[in-house]
């Protein structure tokens, strides 16, 4: 080994604490990046594989009842390769040992037992036998949630009749990679399952022989979906189509895409933060080493080492640190990705969710960290390169100090000499000082970034499910129910309050934008299903016009006063012009609301209801469930508490895992910045400090000089970090925003306090280590020779 390399290794050994701190910061950034990119690659690969091999459709549509004779005409639409029609019905299940009703989505499988699109992957048991009745294949998450295995039976209420179904297989479908009930925001594997049945079975039970109510198709080649959608809608219009949509509005696909988008966002943000901190720390440490080794550099050059060799020596030091950090971070990233991928298995079901290594990402992260490390230290290394040896032989001139502005403002001698030293030191190197403050502020902000998501989600849940929606159950009907049904429902024993709603599928147009969205007609002053504005104040439903939630307003770029063209996709399918009268705040979904009576008027219909919101006496919940199950008109029952619970079990768990990682990383940054800063100040000033001790200053007075600076930096960094944390969180919120849910920018005082506390603890801890070194200052040695 070359002696210069041996020097490098020993020098690194000497500064192992500092090197380790920087390595950790780099590793944290790299790990987050690698984790995101590999999870992304794994998810994307598994998705693509599943979609391709199991022929996931491109366009989806539904109708009330369309004749099979329409299918050849659909197949003739240019660009369409494969069409599959089917029956899809949501029914209530009667599951023993489960109080509340569960909803099953029944999907028909063609007579020959083979889907042409959205094929099933049978993970257990077998596929349906053609023409065999009473068999079902059920979705894996639902089977697991209830412990169902092939051979078990269960009862479903199909078209008012309770029917026994025997489970023959457990399956996965590209259409239900994540299984979310429409209208819900989170998967609820216990209360929502997907069942596949023989077509003949369903046709008979639902009286739909020779007809279909759902259709999906695949393109022959890459084609603008809008053209096909237009023709499809035209064909199906007479049969009650509520409008076709492409994958972007397919629920499972939407969730997957959102997850992928979020992983991408994280992959950009994490390295940006961590690597800039690491570059700063490297700069600090390497600058110090180079000025400390000024005379060694001079000696090397005097003996004929070239500037290039000397520069490379220090660059190698940087590279050893950055490459070690990258390597460790990569391994940590793999481990994290493997963990996250495992977590994904719970929600996202693929025939195989294979952990994939994104090789390009690994290569790029090595390039990125190396570049950041070199850029961060380039000025310091260049100083070593250009250091004229003769000048380096002479002792460094004393640094220039000036009385600071603060001292000039304060009366003379009002500051102690220690404090004056601290202030002059800070102001002598304003760039270095501000970078130190910025580094610490980054630690504070990363803490906030890691923690605020939980605040935000809690706020969102509270806003949406406690303040806005106060019902316990949401019941929806297969067909709009008459006033009599509603009256009966409200009189059920145990139902304390009830409100009805009318929802209707529409396509809204504003200027050149359009959007498939359901309009929900509400009672004028709803008490259960309330709408709130941003200030959490209830908004009453205006008599005329339409209210949009904030996301829909954004999608359509519409504001109060704008006139929307609303194409109703049900019943008589009128096209209406309605004025936007208000925007309401909602963190989930894309919705529009109107006065129910006004909606009836526009649709020229009687007072029917699509569903009802019920407030129920908790003690009589079971009776209410029993009653609801026995009513053939009831399509689904959503239980608010169950939604909250499953949300907490899924999203919260997901966030918690991330949060743990991020908080650890924030602590790494804080310790890295403070510890390095303190060690460097100590080494730069050990002579001054020892001199102070020799001329009679006490240990604590000497510590003031050193730790005072760190304390001031920390105090300045906390509010700055809050600000940066707020900005980064805002950026992250916008990256996390999806049509299904938005995370509000809410940061609690606890989070701010916690962020400050962690950084203060890191400061204290680093201060303590450095303080111990002050006690061991070599008072005589340090004065005798130059270092």
């Amino acid at each position: 080994m070359r002696k210069l390399d041996r020097k490098l290794i020993r020098d690194l050994g000497q500064m192992k604490g500092q090197a380790l701190a920087i390595i950790s910061v780099i590793a944290a950034g790299v790990a987050t990046y690698v984790m995101s990119m590999c999870s992304y690659a794994s998810l994307e690969w598994s998705k693509d594989y599943f979609y391709r091999e199991f022929r996931f459709a491109d366009i989806f549509t539904s109708a009330r009842r369309a004749p099979d004779s329409l299918i050849p005409r659909i197949e003739r639409i240019s660009g369409v390769a494969t069409v599959e029609s089917r029956l899809v019905y949501d029914v209530l299940l009667d599951i023993p040992n489960m109080e509340e009703p569960a909803t099953a989505r029944l999907i028909s499988v063609p007579e020959d037992g083979h889907n042409r699109l959205n094929k099933l992957y049978i993970s257990r048991g077998r596929m349906l036998e053609p023409l065999r009745t009473g068999e079902v294949v059920i979705s894996e998450v639902f089977a697991e949630a209830h412990g169902f295995v092939p051979g078990d039976t269960l009862r479903a209420i199909i078209n008012g009749k309770s029917q026994q179904l025997s489970i023959v297989g457990i399956a996965l479908s590209p259409e239900y990679v994540i299984q979310v009930q429409p209208g819900s925001i989170v998967p609820d594997e216990k209360r929502f399952g997907v069942f596949w049945m023989n077509e003949v079975d369903l046709e008979a039970a639902l009286d739909m022989t020779g007809a279909f109510n759902s259709l999906s198709l695949k393109f022959a080649y890459d084609k603008n979906p809008d053209e096909i959608i237009e023709q499809l809608d035209a064909l199906l219009k007479p049969f009650g189509s509520v409008g076709a949509y492409d994958r972007t509005q397919q629920l499972s696909h939407q969730y997957l895409s959102d997850e992928l988008k979020q992983l991408r966002g994280m992959a950009v943000m994490a390295p940006a933060i961590f690597l800039s901190v690491a570059a700063f720390l490297l700069n600090m440490v390497v600058s110090r080493i180079i000025s400390q080794q000024r005379e060694q550099i001079a000696a090397l050059k005097a003996f004929g080492y070239t500037n290039y060799e000397v520069g490379l020596h220090y660059l190698n030091m940087v590279l050893v640190i950055s490459l070690t950090g990258t390597l460790l971070g990569t391994l940590l990233g793999f481990w994290m990705a493997a963990n996250i991928t495992e977590l994904y298995q719970k929600f996202y079901r693929f025939p195989m969710l294979e952990f994939r290594i994104d090789r390009l990402a690994i290569v790029s992260v090595f390039l990125i960290t190396t570049t950041a490390a070199i850029l961060g230290t380039w000025f310091a290394v260049r100083r070593a390169i250009h250091l004229p040896p003769a000048e380096a032989m002479r002792p460094e001139p004393p640094p220039s100090f000036r009385p600071t502005l603060l001292e000039r403002l304060l009366p003379a001698n009002s500051l102690s000499p220690e404090l004056r030293m601290v202030i002059r030191n800070i102001s002598r190197r304003p760039i270095k000082s501000s970078l130190s403050v910025l580094g610490l502020a980054m630690a504070v902000s990363v803490m906030i970034l890691g923690s605020f998501t939980l605040d935000a989600v809690n706020y969102m849940m509270d806003f949406q499910f406690r303040k806005a929606q106060r019902q316990d159950l949401t019941v929806t009907f297969f067909e709009p129910a008459t006033a009599a049904v509603i009256y009966e429902l409200s009189r059920l024993p145990g139902v304390l309050e009830s409100e009805t709603m009318r929802s209707v599928a529409t396509r809204m147009h504003f200027q050149n934008r359009s959007r498939r969205v359901g309009i929900v007609g509400l009672e004028p002053a709803p008490q259960l299903f309330r709408l709130l504005d941003r200030q959490e104040q209830a908004v009453s439903v205006p008599e005329f016009g339409i209210m949009l939630n904030s996301k829909l307003a954004e999608l359509l770029a519409a504001q109060p006063g704008d006139l929307l063209t609303v194409e109703v996709l049900e019943a008589k399918r009128p096209t209406l012009t309605i004025e936007v009268t208000a925007i309401v705040e909602e963190y989930t979904g894309v919705n529009a609301y109107m006065d129910k009576r006004r909606l009836h008027e526009l649709l020229k219909e009687s007072q029917v209801a699509s569903g009802a919101f019920l407030k129920v006496d908790a003690n009589q919940l079971q009776t209410v469930f029993k009653e609801l199950e026995s009513r053939p008109g009831v399509g689904s029952v959503a239980i608010k508490d169950a939604v909250i619970q499953s949300f907490e079990a899924t999203v919260a768990e997901n966030i918690l895992v991330m949060r743990t990682f991020i908080v650890m990383f924030a602590a790494v940054i804080a310790i890295g910045v403070v510890y390095n800063g303190a060690r460097i100040s100590l080494s730069e000033r050990s002579r001054d400090l020892a001199t102070m001790r020799v001329i009679g200053f006490s240990r604590s007075e000497v510590s003031t000089v050193l730790l005072g600076e760190i304390a001031i930096f920390t105090l300045l960094a906390i509010p700055l970090g809050w600000g940066i944390g707020y900005a980064l969180s805002a950026y992250m919120v916008s990256g996390l925003e999806t049509e299904n849910y938005r995370i509000p920018l809410v940061i609690s005082r606890n989070t701010l306090g916690m962020a400050a506390l962690v950084v203060m603890i890191a400061t204290f801890f680093s201060g303590f280590i450095v303080q111990r070194r002050i006690s061991h200052l070599d008072l005589i040695g340090v004065l005798k020779t130059r270092d």
Partner: protein
């Protein structure tokens, strides 16, 4: 003995900036150094002797004037050529040794032998300063005199044509200083290396072939010493 000129400096001046002040270190110095000779550059602190040595060693450039090493004009050389000149021809010994603290005595010497053209064995160099036994000690484990002898071993290991010593005994006590000077004198004697030692200590001048005195950036006088004494007989 027929001697040829190794260094020829013509009217060199040097001004440099230190902190916030201009320092006139040299104000027109002309001199010659000859092959194999042992020269002492004598002067008080601030007389410009270190600056002169740095310029001869190719570490620094004069503000004006020219310097020749054999037939190379150092003052006309660029950085790369100066580096090569130092690498191939010059051995330096500094007042504060400038050893690499993270390398052992032997490794400090090897640091130089690795890049030299025809160096001696590192242990041979250490043997010349009687430190072979301490080869595996780190600088912090050596006394000041021992460190300076390692520095001498390091300087001569490449078998340089010239050995330039900047206050080699400046940080040492008398006994240790004498041991170090003895080592330098022996190198000069045995290897024939042209040696320049700068010092403010007039006593050391007695062991030189020639003494060049500097004061206030100028040569005050040059004296040939016909009665060279051994380092062991020096007293101060």
């Amino acid at each position: 003995m027929e001697t040829s000129t190794v260094f020829r400096a013509v009217d060199i001046a040097k001004v440099y900036r230190m902190g916030e002040v201009n320092v006139h270190a040299l104000r027109g110095v002309s001199l010659q150094l000859f092959e194999h000779e042992f020269v002492v550059l004598l002067g008080a602190s601030g007389s410009g002797k270190s600056t002169l040595l740095n310029i001869l060693g190719g570490l620094d450039r004069p503000t004006s004037g020219s310097v020749f090493y054999l037939d190379h004009e150092l003052t006309a050389s660029d950085d790369t050529r100066l580096t090569r000149y130092r690498r191939e021809n010059v051995g330096f010994v500094f007042q504060f040794y400038n050893l690499i603290p993270s390398l052992t005595a032997r490794e400090n010497v090897e640091l130089i032998t690795e890049i030299a053209k025809a160096p001696m064995h590192p242990l041979e160099a250490l043997d010349l300063v009687h430190l072979k036994e301490r080869a595996n000690h780190f600088p912090a484990q050596l006394s000041g005199g021992e460190q300076q002898r390692v520095a001498i071993a390091r300087a001569i290991a490449k078998k340089p044509k010239v050995l330039l010593c900047d206050e080699p005994t400046g940080a040492l006590d008398v006994q240790t200083g004498i041991v170090v000077l003895e080592a330098i004198a022996r190198i000069n004697r045995e290897l024939g290396t042209t040696t320049a030692v700068i010092t403010h200590n007039a006593a050391i001048a007695k062991m030189a072939d020639r003494v060049i005195s500097l004061s206030d950036g100028k040569i005050s006088h040059i004296e040939e010493n016909h009665t060279k004494v051994a380092a062991t007989e020096l007293e101060w």
